[in-house]
């Protein structure tokens, strides 16, 4: 690992951004590691939760936003529940995901693709259309055969519908997305 020059490489603005986004104060964390200890995903993370918190305290924006950890967090809330400093760690992880997504940095493509096809389906039909999501995801990700073996039994048990059920208010839901995107654009304009 190379030296981090804290004088030059501490991104104070980023710390403030996360504070503002999450409404949480990273300075409350005293690095006891309880979040890491309880996290079911630590073994899959490149940086355990407590380390993400530490990197945040040190203002290491790039390391955090490029990490897999923030995408592999399932928001199971164990960290938040057990944090002795009453930091809503899961909420901070969420904030980091949002920021990373906005900056187009996604280290876990598959998860993002799955989320995207999920949201597309909602945008399109107003509800989650499982088959659609699966197909959408498979096409985007190229994992064509993933979970293929599950298809037939699910069909036979009538658990997967081939035709999406579109709700009357589907366009209302779609509008939520478009309005959201417009807003986001304006924000970007405002802040240059």
């Amino acid at each position: 690992m190379d030296t981090i020059n804290l004088t030059e490489k501490t991104d104070w603005a980023f710390i403030e951004q996360v504070k503002k986004k999450s409404g949480e104060n990273p300075s409350l964390c005293y690095q006891c590691g309880n979040c890491t200890a309880g996290c079911p995903y630590t073994q899959y993370f490149d940086y355990p939760v407590s380390m993400v918190m530490r990197l945040l305290q040190a203002g290491q924006k790039d390391t955090i936003l490029n990490s897999k950890a923030i995408w592999l967090c399932a928001t199971c809330e164990t960290c938040t529940t057990r944090c002795p400093c009453e930091v809503d760690v899961a909420l901070i992880m969420e904030a980091l995901r949002i920021i990373a997504r906005r900056e187009g940095r996604v280290s876990e493509k598959d998860i993002k693709l799955f989320n995207d096809s999920f949201l597309d389906s909602i945008k399109q039909y107003g509800r989650m259309f499982e088959m659609g999501i699966l197909l959408g995801y498979k096409l985007r990700s190229g994992h064509l055969m993933g979970d293929a073996e599950l298809g037939p039994p699910m069909m036979s048990k009538g658990k997967i519908h081939l035709i999406p059920k579109k709700i009357k208010g589907a366009d209302e839901v779609a509008k939520i997305f478009t309005r959201f995107q417009e807003k986001a654009k304006q924000k970007v304009k405002k802040h240059g």
Partner: protein
């Protein structure tokens, strides 16, 4: 009237954010002010000389010092002006440090505020009347509340100093927490071996009167003359007859009573003597479990007692003791395991608390010193210690460090290796706090010589898997989750204020912090005094501390009592209520409202009824003064005129 005003820079503490020269200049304009100056350190020797000189040179008759809080230096400056021949109550202080320079950064606003606060002080000073304290006799007996090591030390030092001591202990035996410990860090002395002799001294000292299994019912009076009501709780055993032979305990059929001494490490009998070295060594019945009380029939102990000491009809008894001072040494308590659900919340027999483990380690404990796990009485080979089990944890309301856990865990890890050579201990910690003499070396020994594995990280969860306890924690230095398959888990549960601590404080009229620990009158310079004169603190009730610190404080409290009692007479504070007989209409409202019963009805020669203040009893709260419909009863030094003078000064400016 010639008022002299002295404005202190307190180095840059005040001068940093207040233009002291300007304050002095503005003050000189106030009518009545004959002299005003500012000085670097007014409380210093030359600073005080500046005052005495000015009094002589300028013929000053009232003094205002604008500096720190009067709670800090009022006495200092009262002595100063007394030296210069003024009445000590001709002093007023304006608190321009704590209340101005330290809380505001705006120099202009601060300076302006300081000028006004000084003006207020001046206006009050102009109303100051000379007051003279009368002296009263001191009852040179002291009560020590709590029979732990701190209380015992205070009691013994006072007694050896020739004072009569009354010790009140709420549990059936003295010794407190230390009596429960197996060994002590960092020397690994046998705890009871070094405490035992002290306990015996307390019991045998002809100047110490011990009330065990007793509690403070009520406290009345004031420094030098307290009346203490003590409730001797019913033990259902006549202790004058009980010889402590223990036959009753042997024969008692109820074997499932909760053992308070062992913190429930194992059950005990419904009638029991807490531990072999108990002092006093007397039996007591726990009516919650005793069949005679629960089922109304049994009487085994009564049958077997050779001296017929058992008395199921025994009632609580109230006795009164008169003393001149009080030492509070009520110790601490421990967080209930239920508050830690992620560690099993007490549901798992093999996840125990540090104090329970201490009893298991102890030769006179429930397992006679053999380390066996509660569930199946097998010898554990892997023992995991979890520090900060509740400590430094806002979510359970204990944000502070419990002070001694790091050390006793190291000790217990060492002892575990001594007892079971082929055992392996793991210690989960966040920081090792070992600042005492020889302490850090001790925690190093636990690792270097005794091979305890220290893991830097909190434990997130403990759960049983087969015969093992799975301890799921983090090693933040490795940056990963770690798991240990333990046979026994020891939780260093957070130390908290003793239960009932606030209620006790209220009886004593001393203050306590948000966590129930008692507040000393100055955190640095008056660590054993309280704001109630004659009441002193010792041991963990003031803040968590280990044995040496508790003993030190016990002796310190004793020294304070001895110096207080070194005089036969005490000076009373003359700032008390005074009745103007001509103005008093004898409505006696004040008699009803006085919290201390210090005001009585009095008949004058002309037959008129008036109120009369008993000087020694009046504590100077002034409730009477604000009650009196005709301003006849006035609290000296805080009279209506003086306070109103301050009010109008501010309001006119």
């Amino acid at each position: 009237m010639r008022v002299g005003v002295f404005i202190c820079h307190c180095g840059s503490n005040i001068a940093g954010t207040i233009d002291v020269a300007k304050v002095a200049a503005e003050t000189r304009k106030i009518p009545g002010v004959a002299f005003a100056t500012n000085y670097m350190y007014t409380c210093s020797e030359p600073g005080q000389k500046e005052i005495t000189d000015a009094i002589a040179r300028e013929h000053l008759d009232r003094i205002v010092v604008a500096a720190c809080s009067p709670r800090m230096h009022e006495n200092t400056f009262r002595k100063t002006i007394e030296k210069a021949g003024l009445n000590r109550y001709f002093l007023e202080m304006a608190n321009i440090r704590e209340h101005i320079s330290w809380i505001g950064l705006d120099k202009e606003l601060n300076t302006n505020k300081a000028i006004e606060e000084v003006a207020m002080a001046v206006s009050k000073a102009m109303q100051d009347k000379p007051l003279f304290s009368s002296s009263f006799k001191v009852n040179k007996r002291v009560v020590v509340i709590g029979g732990g090591v701190a209380g015992m030390q205070a009691a013994l030092d006072c007694a050896d100093g020739g004072l009569e001591v009354v010790m009140v202990e709420k549990s059936p035996a003295i010794g407190g927490m230390m009596a429960r410990l197996d060994k002590t860090f960092p020397t690994i002395d046998c705890s009871i071996c070094i405490l035992g002799p002290k306990m015996v001294d307390v019991a045998q000292h002809d100047k110490i009167k011990l009330y065990a299994y007793s509690e403070i019912e009520e406290i009345k009076g004031y420094v030098g003359n307290y009346q203490i009501k003590i409730r001797k709780k019913a033990a259902y055993v006549d202790w004058t007859k009980c010889t402590g032979c223990g036959l009753c305990m042997e024969k008692c059929p109820t074997k499932n009573a909760y053992d308070y001494f062992n913190f429930g490490a194992a059950p005990t009998r419904a009638i029991n003597i807490p531990f072999p070295q108990a002092i006093p060594k007397k039996a007591k019945i726990d009516p919650k479990y005793c069949r005679q009380f629960t089922k109304g029939k049994c009487g085994v102990c009564a049958k077997v007692c050779p001296t017929g000491a058992i008395n199921y009809e025994q009632q609580d008894e109230i006795v009164t003791e008169d003393v001149g001072a009080i030492v509070v040494a009520t110790g601490y308590g421990l967080l209930d395991q239920e508050r830690l659900p992620e560690y099993g919340g007490g549901r798992y027999p093999d996840a125990i608390t540090g104090i329970q483990y201490e009893r298991i380690l102890n030769a006179s404990g429930p397992t006679s010193g053999h380390i066996i796990r509660p569930s199946d009485h097998e010898e554990p080979k892997t023992v995991v210690f979890v520090s900060c089990a509740g400590s430094r944890d806002k979510s359970v309301g204990v944000p502070y460090c419990s002070n001694f856990c790091c050390m006793y865990i190291a000790k217990q890890a060492i002892l575990t290796k001594d007892h079971i050579p082929d055992s392996q201990s793991y210690v989960f910690y966040m920081d090792i706090r070992a600042p005492g003499k020889g302490y850090d070396e001790f925690t190093r020994r636990a690792q270097e010589e005794y091979g305890a594995k220290y893991i830097r990280g909190r434990v997130s969860r403990i759960y049983p898997k087969g015969k093992k306890m799975i301890v799921q924690g983090a090693d933040t230095l490795l940056g990963t989750t770690v798991e240990v398959e333990a046979d026994l888990v020891v939780l260093a549960t957070a130390a908290i204020a003793a239960d009932g601590a606030p209620q006790m404080a209220e009886k004593l009229h001393i203050s306590y912090d948000t966590f129930g620990f008692y507040v000393e009158s100055h955190p640095k310079l008056r660590p054993v005094e309280t704001n109630t004169s004659g009441v002193f603190l010792a041991g963990a009730c003031q803040g968590l501390k280990d044995i040496p610190a508790s003993v030190t404080q016990g002796s310190a409290a004793a020294a304070k009592v001895l110096s207080l009692f070194s005089k036969d007479m005490l000076e009373s504070d003359p700032a008390i209520a005074q009745v103007n007989n001509n103005a008093c209409v004898g409505c006696l409202k004040c008699v009803k409202t006085c919290p201390f019963g210090a005001i009585v009805e009095d008949k004058l020669r002309d037959g008129r009824t008036v109120a009369k203040v008993i000087e020694t009893v009046c504590a100077g709260c002034g409730v009477c003064t604000s009650t009196c419909p005709c301003g006849a009863i006035q609290l000296q030094h805080f009279t209506d005129n003086q306070l109103l003078a301050e009010v109008s000064t501010i309001c006119q400016m």
